[in-house]
Symmetry: C2
Subunit: 350 residues, 2 copies
């Protein structure tokens, strides 16, 4: 008899393949009865999947690759930490690779660097395009993070970036701010993280009946502290003075706070500041930083769960295309701290 596949388990248990996957991944929203039926079917058929963190080493290496644009961004470091924790709980070793958002590196990673040491890859692409993926078969189980470049190509995990930026902007409007810079923003249409977040900012302005000023959207070369600091300096030199700055990551927001301090402006009294990512630096800065806090642990947990399922599928000899790719949106919240707490000064001139 051929090695049993996930659909054989589903048939035997009388449930959908999706439900089998949910049981394998140990989701909460499966009834105990269904869970029991699926586990019995798995046991009876000898379906090879690892339910509770035991090693998945049958003919595999037990190594997964985590491929990120920049390892020295605290957000990616936090994410790596979470993914490593989840993977190790499941008996996997994680090796990381930095692409510097280079397309060739990203493509190479998707194919395991031409070496057969990785069972699968979790990749946060920045340079890959829809065209890069559309006609390319996956050769290795893969999960993509961040904004979707080609929905349906592989499992994909992200926050709702449009909604998150809209939440942050609504918060600034709710504390009376009207002239809100977007540092790191981009006017181009999505996909792309900067584009999705700028869209959310515009939606919040529209909903509040506030005008959209393209000059308030400030692209940057990199999402780093010096670039955030320099963008705010440029905006202050050009005038009129903003009363809030929405920075598309915390690093730029910390740079922005530094520039405002050097210019003698008080945060939040003169200028409120919001970041994205909820990195540790913003919890200890002076002032502490209001930020969009993605549920990074959920990103990590879901990414590893999905990858484990794909690896199990591949090990089952059925390829990794048994189940259609999943789109998973993980929650975010707005962490309100000193950089937006408190009343605005008199409305700025202009």
């Amino acid at each position: 008899m051929a090695r049993p596949r996930i659909k054989d388990v589903a048939l035997r248990a009388g449930v959908s393949e999706k439900t089998v996957s949910n049981v394998i991944n140990d989701y909460e929203h499966v009834s105990e009865r269904t869970r029991k039926a699926v586990r019995e079917a798995i046991a009876e058929l000898g379906y090879r999947v690892n339910l509770a963190g035991r090693h998945l080493r049958r003919g595999r290496t037990g190594i997964i690759a985590l491929v990120l644009p920049e390892l020295d961004f605290p957000y990616f470091a936090d994410l790596a930490n979470g993914i490593i924790t989840e993977a190790e709980r499941n008996g996997l070793t994680v090796l990381l690779h930095q692409t510097r958002a280079d397309r060739q590196h990203e493509l190479s990673a998707l194919h395991g660097f031409d070496h057969d040491f990785a069972d699968g890859v979790i990749l946060s692409p920045l340079a890959l395009t829809t065209e890069d993926l559309r006609d390319r078969r996956r050769t290795l189980p893969a999960v993509l993070l961040g904004e979707a470049i080609e929905p349906g190509w592989a499992d994909h995990v992200a926050i709702d970036n449009v909604r998150a930026a809209r939440d942050a902007t609504e918060h600034l409007i709710s504390i009376g701010r009207r002239r809100i810079l977007v540092v790191g923003g981009s006017d181009a249409p999505p996909p792309g993280t900067a584009e999705a977040r700028t869209l959310g900012y515009r939606q919040a302005l529209d909903a509040a009946g506030l005008p959209y000023d393209p000059a308030a959207v400030m692209p940057v070369a990199q999402f780093r502290m010096p670039h955030g600091a320099a963008a705010v300096a440029r905006a202050l030199d050009a005038g009129p003075r903003p009363d809030a700055v929405l920075c598309l990551n915390d690093q730029m927001a910390l740079g922005a706070i530094r520039t405002l301090h050097e210019r003698g402006l008080r945060v939040p009294r003169d200028v409120a500041v919001v970041g994205f990512d909820d990195v540790e630096g913003g919890r200890f800065s002076v002032p502490t930083l209001t930020t969009v806090s993605p549920d990074k642990k959920a990103v990590a947990r879901v990414a590893v769960e999905l990858l484990l399922l794909r690896i199990a599928e591949a090990a089952g000899g059925s390829g990794n295309a048994d189940l259609p790719p999943e789109e998973r949106v993980v929650p975010h919240r707005l962490a309100i701290r000193e950089s937006t707490a408190g009343p605005a000064a008199a409305a700025p001139a202009g």
Copy 2:
């Protein structure tokens, strides 16, 4: 004829093996004449080594492993960035692994994770002991970073941590500070980074004729912002108030600044703060942070140079023990910024 070894090159060129290695690594302090002789010998013998960043892929994978305790420490992220840059200039792909200072992970990494995908490993160990290494043969070309646990076991690159902490403490004394906390310090004897730095602090006190107070040395569970913040809070609660805080990394120093701000103390007027590592966060904090700045680019360059040499040696069929392990000390400097600039307030009570 057997594959030529580095000693054959040395014999032919009439120089020492060390000089051959210096030429291979492109050091500056080799005369042009010697350089020429060595290169001719290499060419005549067909010695297989890669001089100028061309690929080292003869039978190798072109992948090296970089193994660090914590990837979410900005210092290690900076270091990883530098090593990746150097390695890629030499045609190598870098895969990173996080050990969380776990001894088993560190040992496993030294042996290439039981897989033959890495040509060599650069490891910053925290848990390995002298005993772990003493009786163990290197199975893979390896370079160790950080404080030496077993000098002479493998090539080793570090700053002079005793001297660096002494420099930082002397600076605090020179601006009139007398009650200097050491956050993250340890009274135990070296080896160990905390131990070496605490020793340097004591040397500076001794040289200035200042008393050493064991209560001023504050161990922490981790070198992170919350731990620095909490240590300073404990010290302020216990009294007497310090007039300076030497934190053994920048993360703890940024946490310390936050606590001092919350307690209404001015930095540097009431309490001066110094960190270690020169991470970006301290260049944009309010106030900016005085710090020991190790030459991280030099650490990266030297580590990759040494590893390339060992890989070339191993590829030459001679094992990687042709040359004795090297101890390399890279430079550091004190970057003086706002957190120690300016006069002290009146001497604290006590």
